[in-house]
Structures are given as structure tokens and as C-alpha cells.
């Protein structure tokens, strides 16, 4: 994976596959503390203890289409390469909670990448009845995006409509630029 936004898309795809109805993506850029924290939480079907211990093994997967897993283990590795840490909690029937912490200015820390594109792609993947909340903090500034709010405005029009997605991609891009600008 070239950047962290692609890892995030990959993990959200797991949440969708786990049948989650609520998915939360949180990015916390604590630049003054030299930390980047990514949290992805869902209320999907979760994993039992046996699966949880195996999940960071790149050669473990529940998929029938191929014999390697890779997704979670690659994100864990990306965080550990920076001297950060990776934590996963999961309960069957409750959901899964992932935290990846990175040392912000570490030379091996992958760039965050294009989060607007990632969230737009997530919106295409969401099935009806699924919601996504994305919160992005940069020091003291925050951008919040919640499909529950968007769906109220759309009142019945599909969020995956190409024109809607195109607008939302730009909306997120502008929102993220604004919190970066406030910083300066």
C-alpha cells in the first residue's frame, strides 16, 4: 500500500464485509505530540479469541478465494515500522476496534494520502442501512463527516449516486484543507 488512506479503505472494506451498520473512522494528527493515530471501529460480527490471535499473521485469512490475508497485518507493520503501536480488540457479535499509532515525523511513516478519495470509495461500498462517521482532527481543529446527516438531506436519494459522491468528495477535500489552513 502506497499510503495510509489506502490501508484505511481496506480496513473499512473489512467492516462492510463484517456486516457493520455503524463504522467510525478517526484520524488524529497530534503534530505537537509527534503522533498520528488512526482508529477504525465497527459494530460488525466481530471475531472470537482464536481468530483474533491469528489475525495479524499475514498467512491467515477467512477468505475462500485466496490463502493469504495481509490487510490487517500490513497496517500493523506500517505502524510498527515508525516505532508506533497497533492494537485490535474484538468481540463476537459486538464489533471490532482497531487503533494504529504512528510516530508522526518518522522517516518510514507513510503519507496519509487522499482521504477524500478513500471516504468516497467507502461510500460506494456501503450497503443500505450502513453508516459511516469520519472524524479528522489536526491539533485543535476538527472536520466531521457523518452519513446519517447526509442521508437526512438526501431523503431517499442514494448516497452512492455518482453526482452525490462527486459532491461529497469535494466537500471532504475542502473540509480537510480548511483544518490544515487554520493550522497555519
Amino acid at each position: 500500500m502506497e499510503d495510509l488512506s489506502l490501508h484505511i479503505l481496506d480496513i473499512v472494506e473489512n467492516s462492510v464485509a463484517a456486516g457493520a451498520t455503524n463504522i467510525e473512522v478517526e484520524i488524529d494528527e497530534r503534530i505537537t505530540e509527534n503522533l498520528l493515530i488512526i482508529k477504525i471501529k465497527d459494530n460488525g460480527k466481530g471475531m472470537d479469541k482464536e481468530t483474533l490471535v491469528k489475525v495479524l499473521d499475514p498467512f491467515y485469512t477467512t477468505k475462500k478465494t485466496r490463502r493469504v490475508g495481509l490487510g490487517l497485518s500490513m497496517l500493523a507493520q506500517a505502524s510498527k515500522e515508525t516505532g508506533g503501536r497497533f492494537d485490535i480488540k474484538s468481540e463476537p457479535g459486538e464489533g471490532t476496534d482497531i487503533t494504529a499509532q504512528f510516530v508522526y515525523n518518522h522517516i518510514d511513516r507513510k503519507p496519509l494520502g487522499n482521504m477524500a478519495e478513500t471516504i468516497a470509495a467507502c461510500l460506494v461500498s456501503l450497503e443500505s442501512g450502513m453508516d459511516l462517521r469520519y472524524r479528522h482532527r489536526r491539533n485543535n481543529n476538527e472536520f466531521l463527516f457523518d452519513t446519517k446527516e447526509i442521508k437526512k438531506v438526501l431523503s431517499g436519494v442514494a448516497i452512492s449516486n455518482v453526482e452525490v459522491i462527486s459532491f461529497l468528495r469535494q466537500y471532504i477535500e475542502v473540509g480537510l484543507n480548511q483544518i490544515a489552513k487554520k493550522e497555519k
Partner: protein, 127 residues
């Protein structure tokens, strides 16, 4: 960059509703972008994004775009499956943005399968 408000979404909602009324039927084509770990690492997100922008530009309001997981052919990612109503689905492999645009132009709009990018014409159908 100009400021965008969620309220601006209302205009798009109303426009989409109008075109949906004009269409009055189900979609003509469905394009599935394979979005497993392998697909994402190979560039599936860019393919999806380019495809959606092209569909918007060409105002194709009877085409559905969706995603799926790994299809088991990781070495041939990025992949997409094109399903035209009443036609067998076609799997395209080793995609680039340019190839995806050509598939949209040739297969989805004109109805001609782009043989040089296609892996197989199969019978499993989701549309």
C-alpha cells in the same frame, strides 16, 4: 477553493430525483470494481474514482457502480466486472484508468466487449 456547504447537496438531490423520474426503469448496466486488499494495493481506488468522474461527465444516469471483495485472481488486479442487462458478465483485468475509460466508451455505451482487456465472459450474474 470555494466553501461547500452540506445544504448545497439539496440541489444535487433535486436534480438526481428529476433524472430518476425521467428514467423510470431499472439501470442498464452495473460495473463492479474489485476492492479487496490486493485490488486496493494495485490501484482499484483510482480506477473507481476515474470511472465515476467519467460517468458523471458523460451523464450516464442508468449505470450503477459498486464494489466487491477479492475475486481470487490477485495477480491480475485491478479488476472490474461489467454486467449489461440480459448479457453475460465480463471480467476485465490488469486495469488502468485509461483502460477503464475505454471499457466505458466501448462496452457500456456502445455494447462492444473490449476483448483485449477481458479475462473471461462468464455466467454468474448479480444484475
Amino acid at each position: 477553493m470555494k466553501k461547500l456547504k452540506i445544504g448545497d447537496l439539496e440541489k444535487i438531490r433535486n436534480k438526481v430525483r428529476r433524472t430518476a423520474v425521467l428514467r423510470q426503469g431499472k439501470s442498464r448496466a452495473k460495473i463492479t470494481i474489485h476492492m479487496g486488499t490486493c485490488g486496493i494495493a494495485a490501484g482499484a481506488r483510482d480506477i473507481l474514482s476515474a470511472l465515476m468522474q467519467e460517468i458523471e461527465k458523460k451523464k450516464l444516469n442508468d449505470v450503477i457502480v459498486t464494489t466487491s471483495g477479492c475475486a481470487g485472481l490477485c495477480s491480475r488486479e485491478p479488476m472490474a466486472t461489467v454486467e449489461i442487462t440480459d448479457k453475460p458478465p465480463v471480467k476485465y483485468v490488469d486495469l488502468t484508468k485509461e483502460k477503464m475509460k475505454k471499457i466505458l466508451e466501448q462496452h457500456i455505451i456502445k455494447g462492444n466487449i473490449v476483448n483485449e482487456y477481458a479475462l473471461a465472459v462468464g455466467s454468474e450474474r448479480t444484475h
